[in-house]
Subunit: 260 residues, 4 copies
């Protein structure tokens, strides 16, 4: 098998499965601190949380913006966690380059090529979510926009595509995990939370992703999911999440023992 | 948790994962015999094989038809395997009722309601594949066409939906496994082979299905896949398949130990 | 330009635009008579009406079945109109061959190849609706199933495909009109009513179809749309319809004068 | 009927149909001049041409960038045409505000909300193309991002959505023209060229758009289409285009006479 890239401990040939977790949106320092504390105790090393939220409806909460990034950095440092958060504008690149460990490009900006080009000149790893209308081939070419600038530290993230099915928000394309592995050396992570749109599906879809061979999973959690300001329907609570992390480990072991 | 139905040993609350396997098309008695012999030694109890093939192109091989059904029955009896094969016309129901153990309705006939109504009066279990354009809700209502006739022995089979992605033949909707479990007591099986369209993806997608909680998987195998008359690109050979069956067991055990 | 086929006065190179109209379902002789009478006075020569209704939900009205076919025939004879209605089972072919002028295969049976094969041996023209998940290439191969049996009198009917857009029931693929004309000599008709799913869109979509070059349009009308037993939301009333027929003529004239 | 907005002569209740035309990409001053000269003689008042090209493949020609904008402005002034061109980065807004008459946001940036917000503070009209995965409701909310900033001069542009059909690049959603008119007062334009992906379909789809009630159409033309640096397959030559403009007028007249 060809050598697969590792970016920030995600991917490579050692076959660990990274768990990236946190709230959909950074809401306050206190809440973020408590969530990170719980995650850390579950063994999670990657903390996600949105500060700039590209909401479909302009009237909805758009995130804490810079203040959210600063909270995330502070909490990341306190718990020694790698922080991942979404960028939405080229003019924020210096701030992200200073304060963020992995810069996420969301599905809505997957084809924002000017952003991708500028991130190609950036020193921080980039996690590129698949656009809801992106074929795998187009998604990989979007990653090439970053790589051609000189930044090879790209992590791909499958998060569902648009289809006619309406029992979920997006249709998680589980086959893309293996398709990407055949076409690219980049690590591939799966976000079941945004595809599912409701928490009762998240465990099933997360375990499917691990079994499919994903290098990581990104899951939304919240102390009190029903009080989450954004996407309250899809966050797991800490109990559900801690059990899920153990399941992820067990499935991963099967794959490791059996070969990929 | 509510009680889940078991049909012909598939589904129910005991959480086994049925493996249904065999060639895409029945090609001859000799080949079918050899495949069944190998499958049996892998512990497989369900033998699939198409005799009536609803091919997209009218110029392509349409299956051995009745002769194929007879071969399947004979081989099924020889190895004491449950045989599963597709029906394509209401007028064949008596033949299927006599010779077949599980009558499959293919994706192309998922909305052929006259066929479904008549199968509702039939004594044999029916495996209903999801139509390529069927929402989960519509698929379940198609199952209701069978059930309303009095036949409650329906097995659902997810086999991929139509989307814009063209790296696979269909987009396997892995989330449907859990969605169906929340809406129905019927067992749900996943067919990764037809969704994938090529063998290199089948292992990843099969394991994903098991981890997602599928009650069974249906996989195409062939002694010499390259010589298969139909869908040669997607069948596994026996070596790949026997390894896959072991992996399926291991993943399933994790789910059983951890609860569903 | 290559010669284009004409089937029952629809298609060919003379560039008329056939209008096929009628209720979604035959509900009674009296209602059908009144609708046909009105249609005839609008100059409509093709009367549609469903007797066998393949409803998504098995609990909904399934049509008057044979009695509906007989009403349609009687009214068709009274007003000297060509009658078009949908077949759903191979065993009804003799009845349809005797009583129906154009046998419609609905979208849900577009890939019911046994039905198509048997209609290939039938003497009556067949109107083949595009399946909701059918690529144009697959739809044309479905038509080949009929033609290979010896029945060249096939009319294609575009009626919308499944997409993620949910403001309409299906997404009318207007480009398919010209795509089909480049690949086939068969006449192509457009059904805007089922794609739209509500009457306020029907005029816009019908005129688009005519301007795109469709050989015909099929439109649902009802005396009192709100009382229609099936798809009440999408039928036009007679006033809207009569105005639409005049608009169709005017748009068609532009295309005829200017060349196709 | 409610009052509909007019933006730069496009839309409103007077029911004219604006024709926006030009090359996919600005390639040189000489070519742009000759195309504009021909367009002007056809009566076209809106000149389009891409200077910043968001190409799927990073290795392909990315446009003349600022030099292209300057050519477009110069030629627009020479022929007194309104110039329309695409913006791809927030940092270019001052340049576009100075040199461009209608700022186009392409399908790939339909959900680039930071760009939309900043364009909401801009004095120039914005033409917002529908994202390939955007429901009509999401597209209208994207327009609201611009309008909430204070810029009400938004023109919507339907250009096709992603579906499984592969005989065209995108599936032109012709029904969206009327759907948008029912939900919004904003003018709606249709771009058949990008949806079609090949010139033989453009006439049929353009006339469909006009008949459907579009306030304008945007068509790619080139002096020598086969020599076009970008999307050579879909541009019309001047002869095809001049005939099309006449057809557009005739279809539009029918709609005007008959009421919308």
């Amino acid at each position: 098998m060809s050598e697969r890239l590792q970016v920030m401990g995600i991917g490579g040939n050692e076959n660990g499965c990274a768990v990236i977790a946190g709230p959909c949106a950074i809401e306050s320092k206190m809440i973020t601190d408590r969530i990170a504390d719980s995650l850390k105790r579950c063994g999670v090393r990657y903390l996600r949380g949105g500060a700039f939220k590209p909401r479909t409806n302009p009237k909805e909460f758009q995130g804490m913006r810079k203040a959210g990034i600063e909270i995330l950095r502070e909490i990341g440092d306190k718990y020694q966690m790698v922080v991942v958060t979404e960028i939405v504008d080229t003019e924020h690149i210096p701030m992200f380059e200073e304060l963020v460990d992995i810069i996420q490009v969301g599905a809505k900006n997957c084809f924002n090529y000017e952003l991708l080009k500028k991130l190609g000149k950036c020193k921080k790893p980039v996690m590129l979510k698949r656009g809801a209308s992106a074929k795998v081939s187009e998604w990989l070419m979007a990653a090439d926009y970053i790589r051609h600038g000189g930044n090879e530290n790209v992590i791909l993230c499958e998060r569902g595509i648009r289809s006619f099915e309406d029992s979920t928000r997006f249709t998680l394309d589980i086959s893309s995990v293996q398709v990407v592995k055949e076409l690219s050396k980049l690590p591939v992570v799966v976000d079941p939370s945004h595809a599912a749109g409701r928490r009762s599906l998240v465990r099933s879809m997360t375990l499917a992703a691990v079994a499919a061979g994903a290098d990581g999973v990104m899951v939304e959690v919240h102390e009190v999911p029903s009080e989450s300001m954004v996407d309250a329907e899809q966050a797991l609570d800490m109990l559900e999440f801690s059990k899920l992390v153990e399941d992820v480990e067990l499935i991963r072991e099967v794959r490791n023992v059996r070969g990929t």
